[in-house]
């Protein structure tokens, strides 16, 4: 059996916490941008204007076909360069965090758009009919009647996707960004205590994600009763 030595964890806690902050920062920003952009994509996808719905379908299918690791690599290594050479965008020098956030946000938007589309479609068609019959325009009906219900139905799924996103932030190690997993790995590597740090990281992720999913479940049950 392996001899465990947990002694390097206490000293590394501040560094690990920095990593956790990065994980959370990526998660939160990507969730917000992902939902906003995902909603727009979902509306485009459902819109009767064909080019819009084709664009949205193409976007969603493309992003859902590529491994997230590849997307992150594209965004880290290639996209900034393209932006610079095509549009002459000036770049800050440390693109790791911003490229990771951009990559996650655009990638997750594809998934969020599918969730939201399903949410919109799960609202009974009669609701749109009822809103129209009251004289609301399409926009008013969407905004006042359909989307609020779609979001309410979808909150659990949106949050669950957020939890998945939080787990996936561990993949930013490809850009050597020290998110929580990266930080744990680096500490383990430096101190020759990789096994211990990996176990620790696994436990921390489990506690956070499990708690979060319990909260989502609780909310879901409350919703069911209402």
């Amino acid at each position: 059996m392996h001899e465990f030595d947990w002694s390097s964890i206490p000293n590394a806690l501040p560094f690990l916490w920095d990593g956790m902050k990065i994980s959370l920062e990526i998660t939160v920003t990507a969730v917000i941008f992902g939902i906003v952009w995902g909603t727009l994509l979902a509306l485009m996808r459902l819109s009767p204007v064909k080019p819009l719905s084709w664009f949205a379908a193409g976007y969603v299918n493309l992003f859902r076909a590529i491994p997230l690791v590849m997307v992150l690599l594209w965004f880290f290594l290639i996209v900034p360069h393209l932006l610079e050479s095509i549009f002459g965008f000036p770049r800050g020098s440390d693109m790791r965090l911003s490229s990771a956030i951009a990559g996650f946000a655009l990638f997750e938007a594809a998934y969020y758009s599918e969730i939201i589309r399903a949410g919109i479609q799960s609202v009974p068609k009669g609701q749109m009919g009822a809103a129209s019959a009251l004289g609301m325009t399409y926009g008013q009906a969407m905004r006042l009647v359909v989307l609020p219900q779609a979001f309410r139905n979808m909150v659990p799924l949106l949050l669950t996707q957020g939890i998945i996103l939080f787990q996936d932030t561990s993949l930013v190690y490809v850009s050597a960004l020290a998110d929580f997993f990266g930080a744990a790995y680096k500490v383990g590597d430096r101190d020759g205590r990789l096994v211990e740090l990996l176990l620790f990281a696994g436990a921390v992720y489990f506690v956070i994600c499990f708690t979060a999913s319990r909260i989502v479940r609780h909310y879901q049950n409350k919703l069911k009763v209402a």
Partner: protein, 242 residues
Amino acid sequence: MISMNKVSKHYGSFQVLADCTTQVHKGEVIVVCGPSGSGKSTLIKCVNGLEPFQSGEIIVNGVSVGDPKTNLSKLRSTVGMVFQNFELFPHMSIIDNLGIAQVKVLGRTQDQAREKGFKLLDRVGLRAQAEKYPGQLSGGQQQRVAIARALAMDPICMLFDEPTSALDPEMVNEVLDVMTELAQEGMTMMCVTHEMGFAKRVASRVIFMDQGRIVEDDSKDAFFDHARSERAQQFLAKILHH
């Protein structure tokens, strides 16, 4: 008030409505019946433009529904509609359900809308439930709220699409009572329903549809006493038998 002239509609090659022609005058109560899939819902939804149709003409209060230049939202705000599944907005309280379109469509103030809302809830006997949510009411109560919501827009006529068929038998009458009262006050109404008791009580005319066609369009008495078409007679026999 409502006049339809040779209205036809199809999905692909399937004919849902074929040459439907009829008139509804002010104060009339028209009951529409017929077997499932015969196009009743579609017909009534064409009246306020919820379903587009391919040919023919519908004039509601002087406005042509099929005309692309018509402001459909505006037209619909003057025609009340009640659905089989109530279609209250589940994320809003009852009083907000009554208020939202008054505020956003008619431009009334929040206070005016609430006042009107309370008055109508009083009328359908649900004032006490104003702050509850639709999910907390029984089906019959929800349908009465839905009627109140339509009335809140001060409609010039009302359309009903099987307003009682999703209800438990016990609750059917509380809704029919509200509708009867409305009819007796002179509201122009078009009701899709199988409640022949209601039809006998308040209908001016009965329209019987089959396979997208208006097969009978008779005065109430003529219809019940001696429906001309065989299909309508069969239908009545089945419906009234038990």
